[in-house]
Symmetry: D2
Subunit: 342 residues, 4 copies
């Protein structure tokens, strides 16, 4: 059976990535695409790479007939999303890719996003969308909140380790490297080719990056006690990919064993042999996450590295994985595309 | 029905691209992979991006049982290919990706490749693999010779125009821009990141590039008279993509009309509206070819631009498209993957 | 003697490049920097790479005391420049980097820039700044108009050939490849890293690019008859560099001899041995122009390639070269910095 | 006065960078260039970007008349260097860029480089070349050992902090990001454009990177007790630049104050205002090092970031800075070239 879906915010990178993936998904069909400022345009004008597809024209959200829609992907900017979602039909299944429903505690939301939440009842309802750890809740959910892409990369490296108690929760350092598409199609000086290529720098440092809210919420839940990691992301001259280098205190072999065991049956998570660390190039354009563990010359120290494609496993691929669960489809449907290399 | 196929030369970029595409192809299944110098290794060691697939280990060609194989992709280097193919079972269907069988005239082969052909009877048998123009021959062929990637890009821009006689065949200039993966995984100084990135230069200029042999053969056939184009390729700091800028004398509107008419029913060839020229970013990783035509301030002058991904439509995607025809499958089977952008 | 100079429009790439070059110039000293929207800021805030220099703060143009200034570089946007220059002191030497004074004929200006010139008397006074061909005029000039960067690359390849009559003036095709810094620090979608990297496309095609006005003016002057070239520029995923591939009809050896002879004594122009074509990587960050000539298998056809750094020889380096002449300094002063490779 | 110098190993990137910098150095003149395998070639053939310079041809080391040489830069591979240097005249001043003389303890050398040192008496004589911390020793030295590029970046961030005791020496994590030119002009698969661009990964991890030998030696000396840092370098898709992100325990404000104080008079070291972290793009091609300090939401935690150009401040620029001291020239002579941006 093919489910008709809508993509709200189809003119951004995550919206386009949703369409790219749905294009060869056997169980989903795009029934509506919205982009307020580009309403009336064809998707092929906004994204010529999708020109081979027979897609509905971009419309404004209010012009979508949601009665025909089985599930709605919401790829709108943070902040406005909560208002839009609040106005959608109450029986519509929604996978949100914004940051608006990731934090379940209203106080946390206000702290990290600087203003009270406009739809706290939806915030309470939303299920956190890190698929591998919330399968049952997601399958039963009406509203799923996609995770931050950096937050996903960090959690894949750390959740089983915190759950098993094999690392010191108080000395975790996440040093993350991110491609530029994670910043979206925004016109900002630091995203220009001439500014970014051939250079790198940290951003969102100093304990200010909003994905820390997700780390705090989830890691504390997993560990059963407050966990506060140190997190410094860096912007790299590449388009896709996140590499999270996580410096931890713990026994390297035990860490590797724990990770490998936790992910043994996972279709998208691959733990490399001990001592091998992964590269972002090997997951580009795919829903896979590769992980590796290496020891150090210093006993009791280890490095855990996880890599994902921020637009796929970190965002739109994850969203489809969640949609598959919500619609009773195979979890991997449409998502087994091989990475693209070189 | 799923056909078991072999990929000879699986440790190069075109071999890996074949595996990438076959991974989600509904009618093909990889039964054997060869790589002489890496025999015994797992494909995931040579190409970690394919690590999620359950693939046979790399073996030497002589260790493949061809009785179990329905079709063989041959992605070996130029020169050795003709000897390998000559030694394969006579009833084995073969799609070759090398240059060895592209030229049908032994004298042409010797002229462009500098030595006599070692298997002239196979050379005579081989069908030129530019799918859209040789469908019937390919469907009936045992041995199909994949085109040069640059040669494909140039022919998509020019064949209908030469056939229709709407351009001057004696003043054609093909100025081509190519990504680096077309040069393969060879260890050459000019392919190093530090040498190539942030720079561009011409290569194979001066009427020496071997794809000129294909241009001469095919364009003369189409035009019904000798055609000798000028062709200067350039190496660009990007991994995938070919953009052929073809400068021609002819009426721009008529040229656009001719191209659009010729490709109206083609699943992989898209002619943009008149006056719009395509970008390589919009076909990356896909089997599509986008084409555009623009006029000039000078009457009777036009620019035709075609873009393809050299590894896909220019090589491995084309090979699968041909294999589909040879095996009686839908021509587009496994090839409708959307391009990857950004 | 050290001359105090002002840079108007110091917050753009050409302004920054002027400061970079003047920083180690023995005869120039930066006395004033303007940037209207960023007035009050330190240059190191706008361009941290210049943070080691002791520079005056950015001010508005009206706050500069031009009595203290020996020469003024004007790196302002096209269009507004003519009004600014008209308001500057009449005895101030000016090297303009915009397009406003490149065309000497008011009708030409209006045709290519879509509106009448606001300061036609200055337009008549301005000297075209392609140094090697206008030395005497530049040395005596008050107002010098820097050339377009693409226009410079094309002219270095073609002027001696048109002057000597060794090529057919009616069949010239300039296929140009340009790095992104030529587009300036503007916030445009197609200049984003995620849009531009790993891809290429034509721009300003169809006989519409404004540098055609310069080509027409200069080539016709040199040839002594109207010359109208075909010109298609392409945007490449690199920051600096222009490579102009010029396809011409003429004898390759004679073309090479003519170019090599014309540039024999030039400090910044290097003609490679016959049959070798240059790379942009070899002039990056420098004021050098490398040129090469290759023949074709077709007799009477040749390719001439010139490469420059668009920001240096194509703009700010050229401006300083002209300033050197105007101030009676050695022409090469401050400009012999070696290119940066890799 | 101009000193004649030799560059041994001129066909690699650090050799070429030496020539680039010496080209505009007022006190140095290149008298000899060696490159064994390319002896007899012109430097312009090996590095066309240096084609504007009047340079001696490449020769073999044994063909250099060292009596005419005032100082010798040795940019040869690790391992062979110690034998070459041992055979040079005993009164020749030498700045070595290899790893052979960085570690003063023979046991340390054997541990990190896997074999006994072939010239232990020279090892004892050599002065460690981190200029700002060994000025007097370098000025008096005959043989100076250039530091590792990664080692330099890490030490600029940490030495003053360890000396002042404002950070915990036992919890230091150095997460480093490096451009590809640091790996040299070697033909390795992972250095190919198609492999490296658009991707990132760790290398030399697990406490195995040889620059750890330098960190151990120097940090222990500075701290007056053994210091063993954790160090994970990453290869980035860019040509030049190192960014060292150093995660430390200590008071951020005190750390910033300490660094800023230590480097207040340094011509090449710039500490940004508190809370600002630097970018590699802002030191590209220059001898500058930018440093920044940011706090964390967790009290007592800080991030220190240092950026350098690996080929300049990390290698060839440092070498010239040391040569300046050894020859009694101003330390900054020839090294005040502004970075190149964009």
């Amino acid at each position: 059976m093919t489910h008709p879906v809508a993509v709200l915010g189809a003119s951004g990178y995550t919206g386009a990535e949703l369409v790219r993936l749905i294009a060869t998904h056997p169980g989903l069909r795009i029934a509506a695409l919205s982009a307020d400022r580009k309403a009336g345009q064809a998707m092929a004008e906004v994204f010529p790479f999708l020109g081979h597809l027979d897609l509905p024209a971009l419309v404004r959200i209010e012009d979508i007939r949601f009665g025909d829609i089985g599930l709605c992907f919401c790829a709108l900017p943070h902040g406005t999303t909560q208002e839009v979602v609040a106005a959608l039909p109450r029986d519509l299944r929604i996978v949100d890719l914004s940051a608006d429903f990731r934090l379940s505690d209203p106080a946390d939301y206000e702290r990290w996003y600087g203003k009270p939440h406009a739809a706290p009842e939806l915030q309470a309802e939303a299920v956190y969308g890190l698929t591998e750890f919330y399968r049952a809740e997601i399958a039963a959910a009406r509203l799923v909140a996609g995770t931050g892409c950096n937050a996903a990369a960090g959690q894949y490296a750390l959740r089983p380790l915190l759950a098993a108690g094999v690392i010191d929760p108080d000395t975790i350092v996440i040093d993350l490297k991110a491609g530029v598409s994670g910043a979206g199609r925004a016109l900002k000086e630091n995203l220009l080719h001439a500014e970014l290529s051939e250079g790198t720098q940290a951003y969102g440092y100093g304990g200010t990056h909003r994905h820390l809210g997700e780390f705090d919420q989830e890691f504390s839940k997993v560990a059963g006690r407050p966990v506060r990691v140190r997190f410094t992301p860096h912007l790299l001259p590449m388009n896709r990919g996140i590499l999270a280098t996580v410096h931890v205190d713990g026994d390297p072999a035990e860490i590797h064993r724990t990770l490998a065991g936790a992910y043994a049956g996972e279709p998208f998570l691959r733990v490399l042999p001990f001592g091998r660390l992964p590269s972002t190039r090997d997951v580009r354009g795919s829903n896979f996450c590769h992980l590796g563990v290496a020891g150090d010359r210093l006993p009791g120290r280890a490095v855990v590295v996880s890599v994902i494609d921020n637009l796929t496993k970190g965002s739109s691929g994850q969203a489809i994985q969640n949609a598959n669960l919500m619609l009773g489809q195979p979890e991997t449907a449409g998502l087994m595309l091989a990475p693209m290399f070189p």
